[in-house]
C-alpha cells in the first residue's frame, strides 16, 4: 500500500534537501514496469520465433485483465476504497464493444463510444457510491455489479446466459501500420502498448495534485476537508477514472476472444481483480500488472492438473493478506526505493 503521506523527509546526507517519498515510490514503480515491459518483449520474441499461438493469446488476456486490476488499484491502493464490483465496468466495456463491433463499427469508434459510455455510467454509479466509504463502499459496489450482472444474464437481446458470440475480427489502424485482432503477436503487442499507455496515464494522474488528494484520503480522510478539499468529489473522480480504465480494458476482450459472456460481469471477475491487486501489491500500479501476469501463469500451470485451481489461488491470497499485506511488488519496491535513496546520497 502507499506510504502514509507524511510529507517530505529530510535526507540526512544532503542536509535540508527533502526526498519526495511518493515521487520516489513512483520512480521505483517505473523501473519495475520497464522490467516487465522488457520481459513481455522477450516473451513475444520467443513466442513469435516458435510460432506459438496459445501462450500469446493467454498473455494477451492476462494483460487485458491487468487493466481491470489497474482500475481496482486506483480505488483500493490509492483512495483506500475496496471495490468488489469493478467487473461491472469491465463487462460494460466488453458488451458495448461486442455489440458495436457486430454492427460494423471501427476500432476507434468503439473505443470512443466505450469511453463515453463508461464515463456516463460510472458518473451515475459514482453519485451513489461516493457518498459512502469503507465496508459500505465494498458492499454497495458488490450489490451494484450483482444486479447489473443479473440484468444482463436475463436480457435476451444481450444473449442472456450464453453471451454474444461471433464478434468480427477488427482492424486497428495505427497510422504507421494496421494490426488485426486475429494476429496473435500483433494483437499482443498492441495490447501491451495499450496497457503501457494506461499505466503511464494513471501514474501521471496520480502524480498530479488530484492524485495526492486521493492518497491523502487513503491516509486520513477526516483531515482532507481541513486542507480545503472535498473528499466526496475526489472519490467520485477516482471512481469515474477507475470505471473508464476498466471499461477500456474490457472493450479489448471481445476483440481477443470473439465473444462476451455474463461471466465477465460476475463477482468472480471482480474478485479476481481484487486478488490480483492485493497479491501484486496494492498502491503500486505496476503490482496490478505483475499480479495479473503471475496469477494467469499460475492458473494455467495449476489448471493443467486440476480444475479446482481456485483453492490454491485462494490459499495464496489468504497467505499474502496475512503475511505480506503489501503484496509482492510492495515488498520488492520498498527494497528498490531504499536502493534509489542510497544511490542518490552516494
Amino acid at each position: 500500500m502507499v506510504e502514509a503521506a507524511t510529507g517530505p523527509v529530510a535526507d540526512p546526507a544532503r542536509g535540508a534537501r527533502p526526498i519526495d517519498r511518493i515521487g520516489l515510490a513512483m520512480r521505483a514503480s517505473h523501473l519495475l514496469a520497464l522490467l516487465l515491459l522488457a520481459g513481455c518483449l522477450v516473451f513475444a520474441l520467443v513466442a513469435w520465433r516458435t510460432g506459438d499461438v496459445f501462450y500469446l493469446r493467454l498473455a494477451t488476456e492476462a494483460l487485458i485483465f491487468a487493466g481491470l486490476a489497474l482500475s481496482v488499484d486506483i480505488l483500493l491502493g490509492y483512495t483506500g476504497l475496496l471495490s468488489l464490483g469493478q467487473a461491472l465496468y469491465f463487462g460494460l466495456g466488453a458488451y458495448m464493444s461486442a455489440v458495436l463491433l457486430r454492427s460494423g463499427w471501427s476500432f476507434a469508434g468503439v473505443m470512443a463510444a466505450v469511453l463515453l459510455g463508461a464515463t456516463v455510467v460510472s458518473f451515475l454509479g459514482g453519485l451513489i457510491v461516493s457518498r459512502v466509504r469503507g465496508v459500505y463502499f465494498a458492499l454497495i459496489t458488490f450489490g451494484m455489479a450483482q444486479v447489473a450482472a443479473k440484468a444482463v444474464y436475463n436480457t435476451r437481446e444481450l444473449g442472456a446466459s450464453d453471451g454474444l458470440i461471433g464478434v468480427p475480427i477488427v482492424k486497428i489502424a495505427l497510422g504507421f501500420t494496421t494490426v488485426s485482432s486475429d494476429s496473435p503477436i500483433g494483437f499482443f503487442l498492441f495490447v501491451l502498448g495499450f496497457m503501457v499507455l494506461l499505466y503511464l496515464a494513471l501514474s501521471y494522474l496520480l502524480d498530479t495534485p488530484f492524485g495526492r488528494i486521493l492518497i491523502a484520503i487513503r491516509s486520513n480522510e477526516r483531515r482532507v476537508p481541513f486542507l480545503g478539499y472535498q473528499p466526496q468529489r475526489a472519490r467520485l473522480c477516482a471512481y469515474v477514472a477507475a470505471g473508464i480504465v476498466a471499461a477500456l480494458s474490457g472493450a479489448l476482450y471481445p476483440m481477443l476472444r470473439g465473444f462476451v459472456s455474463p461471466e465477465l460481469m460476475s463477482f468472480t471477475t471482480s474478485g479476481n481483480a481484487v486478488i490480483t491487486v492485493v497479491t501484486g501489491g496494492a498502491g503500486t500500479l505496476v503490482g496490478a500488472l505483475y499480479g495479473s501476469v503471475i496469477l494467469t501463469a499460475l492458473r494455467s500451470v495449476i489448471g493443467s492438473w486440476t480444475s479446482h485451481h481456485l483453492i490454491v489461488i485462494g490459499l495464496i491470497f489468504m497467505a499474502v493478506v496475512i503475511f505480506f499485506p503489501r503484496g509482492l511488488i510492495g515488498v520488492i519496491r520498498a527494497r528498490l526505493e531504499s536502493w534509489l535513496v542510497r544511490r542518490r546520497t552516494r
Binding site: 450489490g143 479446482h308 485462494g314 489468504m318 493478506v321
Partner: protein
Amino acid sequence: MIDYLQFVLAPQMVTGLSLGVAVILVALGLTIIFGLLDVINMSHGEFYAVGAYLALALGAAGLNFWLLLVLVPLLMLPIGFLVEKGLIQRVFNSPDRHTTTLLLTFGLGLVIEETLAVIFGPNTQRPPTPIRGAVEVFGVMLPNYRMFLIGFGLSVVAAVALVIYRTRLGAMVRAAAFDRHMAASLGVPVGFVFAGAFAFGIALAGLAGVLLAPVYSVFPTMGRDFILLAFTVVIVGGMGSIAGAVVAGLVLTQIQAISSLFISPVWSDPIVFGILVVMLVVRPQGLFGRLGRG
C-alpha cells in the same frame, strides 16, 4: 378477490416468510460479528453452504433430521472458533481492519466454496423434505415444513435476543461490543467472547443451511446467491443491530415475495438493491442502532 388472497397472495407471503426467517438467521450472525468484532465476514454465505452440505452428507449417512438440527450448528462452533483464532485475529490489529478482514474472509469463502465443489461435485442436490404434507388454515394451504421452519427459526431468534439482552453472558457480549478495552479491564474475557461470538454467528449460518436445504437446493455457490440479500438486510437494519436484522429481514423478503407476483422475479433483486441504495442515501446508519449502544 378472496380467491386471489387464498391461492396466490397468502401462499406467496408464507414462502417469503420462510425465506425471511432463514435470511434473518444468516443476517443475525453477520450483524453480531460486525457489531462485536467490527469485521465483515465475506465467507458467511459459504458457512451457510457448509451447514447445508453437512446436513446433506450426515442425512445421507442415515442421521435423523431432528438430530442434524442440533448437531450441525454444534459442529460449526469449533470451525468458527478456529477461524476466528487462527485467521481473523492474525490481521485483527492491522491498520485497516475493515478492508483486511474483508479480503481475508473473501479468500476463505473462495477456498471453502471450491472445497465443497471438490468433495460434493458441482451439481445441485436436494435432501428429502423432513416433514411432508400441509395444513389448511382459512382455506389457505400451508406446507408443514415451511410452517415449522418459520416457527423454529423465530424461536431461535427470540432465544438469541433473550440471551444477549437478559443474561450475564449477554451483558458481557454487549459490554465487549460497546468498549472492548473497558470490558477487558472489568474482567470480561474479550478474546474468548470475540471468538465465541464469531463461532456463534457461523453456527447460525449453518443452522440456516440445514433448514433451507430441503426447500432450496444445495450447490457449492449457494452462499453467494444468498449473501447479497443477507448483507442488504444487515445494512438496512443497521450494521450490528439485532432488531434491525429481524425487521429488515421480514420486510425485505415480503417486498421481494409480493413484488414478484406483479413483475418478473428477475427484477426482485434490483428492487431490494434499490431499497438498499435509498437507505444508504437517506439513513446510512440503518433503521436501528448498533449492538451495545442503546
